[in-house]
């Protein structure tokens, strides 16, 4: 049909993937046994690609809170936040989020994608300038398309390049709004937030930080990179998600700025969609309470990230630059990435296949994420399976594993 002609490149790429036997885009989990294990095609697999950083999806308190609220308030709100879709639980969760971050106000959105879409598109008006990191998540790019502002891309994690681009705006009216992420989802690297905050102060810009992959993971209190880098006072807006560390679905934004709540009637992705079901709100609230009251959860996922990253580095794999709980294994090309991913699934380990243009610099990646529920045994078993496939495909030397315990230089934590 001619209406689908525009997708001919995608059709070809999907055809090529289908020929390899297993299409990674249509993998189906027949059962999820725990945050660490699932079943694919009758095979038990270790889950190392779920962004379920604190492993709270099966936490008994979170599950119970959700179940109770499901029985009490029903399956859905069937309405928008500005109509019939704000229950006491939604308002209470916003208060809890604001308190967690020590900010004046919070807004809850129906997904993390919509949090970025709704926050950024509403904040950036016609004369304003959005300065976004080149490796920004698709939700940030889509937010830019929905906004009326001018969109400038700065080099990934390069505060100097950001400053240079802002200086090229000299004399132009409008607000400068910098958008960055805590941990980047593809390579697992963190933003140089202290340097970016300094640029923000020097140029009078506003700063938005998306902590989707760093909330609950970084910072002693789990507030993310802003806390870990000590720049919370410089960050005007924090955006985040309920679908990673909080184990459910939904998104949020928090801010100390007076006027923030005006976005409730200006942000279309907030207004024109149904609000989250009350059961989700209840489980998220329970999960946020866990993060607030148990700093060991964050420590555990960071330690697990370090163990996994170091284990793979020792085997000779080329990885992303920092040992965070997101660990990217670089593949020589797309074909090898698909083959590696398939063989690894047969070995009983699931991680994410990430191909261009979803990746930076046209990289083909296997993207892994560890969680706080992974045991040392899970991690070592995953490293062993990845090593077997890497050796079989000739990506790493067979002897590399012999240098057991050898010290190799690793990036600082």
């Amino acid at each position: 049909m001619p209406i689908f002609d525009k997708f001919s490149d995608i059709r070809d790429a999907l055809g090529a993937l289908a020929q390899t036997g297993q299409n990674p885009l249509s993998v189906r989990f027949d059962e999820i046994l725990s945050p660490a294990e699932g079943v694919v095609e009758n095979r038990r697999v270790l889950l190392f690609g779920t962004s379920n950083y604190l492993g709270l999806t099966f936490d008994p308190d979170c599950v119970e809170a959700g179940v109770q609220m499901l029985r009490k308030s029903g399956t859905g709100t069937t309405g928008s936040r500005i109509a019939n879709g704000t229950y006491a639980g939604h308002a209470a969760l916003e208060k809890q989020l604001a308190q967690f971050y020590g900010k004046r106000s919070a807004m809850v959105f129906s997904t993390g994608y919509q949090a970025n879409l709704g926050l950024i598109s509403a904040l950036a008006g016609r004369e304003d300038h959005l300065l976004i990191d080149a490796d920004s998540h698709a939700s940030i790019y889509d937010a830019c398309r929905l906004s009326a502002a001018e969109i400038i891309r700065f080099r990934h994690n390069d505060a100097e390049d950001l400053a240079k681009r802002i200086s090229r705006l000299k004399g132009r009216p409008g607000c400068r709004i910098i958008v960055t992420e805590g941990i980047y989802s593809m390579l697992g690297d963190a933003a140089p937030l202290r340097e970016i905050a300094a640029v923000k102060r020097e140029t009078g810009a506003y700063l938005i930080v998306d902590e989707a992959h760093s909330m609950g993971v970084l910072g002693n209190r789990g507030r993310g990179l802003c806390e870990a880098a000590g720049v919370e006072a410089d960050v005007d807006f924090v955006a985040g998600t309920f679908s990673k560390s909080l184990g459910a679905v939904g998104g949020f934004a928090v801010s100390d700025l007076e006027g923030f709540d005006l976005l409730r009637v200006a942000s279309r992705p907030y207004m024109f969609t149904a609000s989250l079901p009350p059961s989700i709100i209840a489980s998220v609230s329970a999960a946020l309470h866990k993060i607030s009251s148990d700093p060991a959860l964050g420590r555990k996922v960071r330690d697990n990230g370090l163990r996994f990253y170091r284990g793979l580095a020792r085997q000779g794999f080329e990885l992303g630059p920092s040992p965070n709980p997101v660990v990217a294994i670089k593949m020589p090309d797309r074909e090898m990435a698909v083959e590696f991913w398939k063989q690894l699934l047969k070995e009983g380990v699931y991680l994410n296949l990430a191909l261009p243009p979803a990746t930076p610099s046209s990289l083909a990646l296997l993207r892994a994420s560890v969680n706080a529920v992974h045991s040392d045994e899970h991690i070592d078993r995953a490293i062993a399976a990845i090593t077997r496939v890497g050796q079989r495909l000739g990506m790493i030397a067979p002897q590399a594993s012999a240098v057991n315990g050898a010290k190799i230089p690793l990036p600082a934590e």
Binding site: A134, E150, I151, R153, L169, P357, T359, S361, S362
Partner: protein, 84 residues
């Protein structure tokens, strides 16, 4: 320094030659995405290189309607005039 659109086009073609397939046709009418097989990220990275080369900002919202090398050079010419 004033650049005319055709001079700018020549510079774009020079820069594209480094990243496009050797067999790709490069002229003002070349469609950057379709004819050169570049994905959206590769095109945005290329735009960033042009920003350095011409010392300007090329906002992403302004390249949404750019299809050919000629379109791009006209856009850059206008942006350079604004920045001057």
């Amino acid at each position: 320094m004033a650049h005319k659109a055709d001079e700018i086009a020549a510079q774009i073609i020079g820069a594209l030659a480094a990243i496009a397939p050797a067999s790709a046709p490069l002229s003002g009418n070349t469609k950057i995405a379709r004819d050169l097989g570049l994905d959206s990220v590769a095109i945005m990275d290329f735009i960033m290189e042009l920003e350095e080369r011409f010392d300007i900002l090329i906002p992403l919202d302004q390249i949404a309607n750019v299809e050919t090398i000629q379109d791009l050079s006209v856009t850059i010419e206008a942006l350079m005039k604004d920045a001057a």
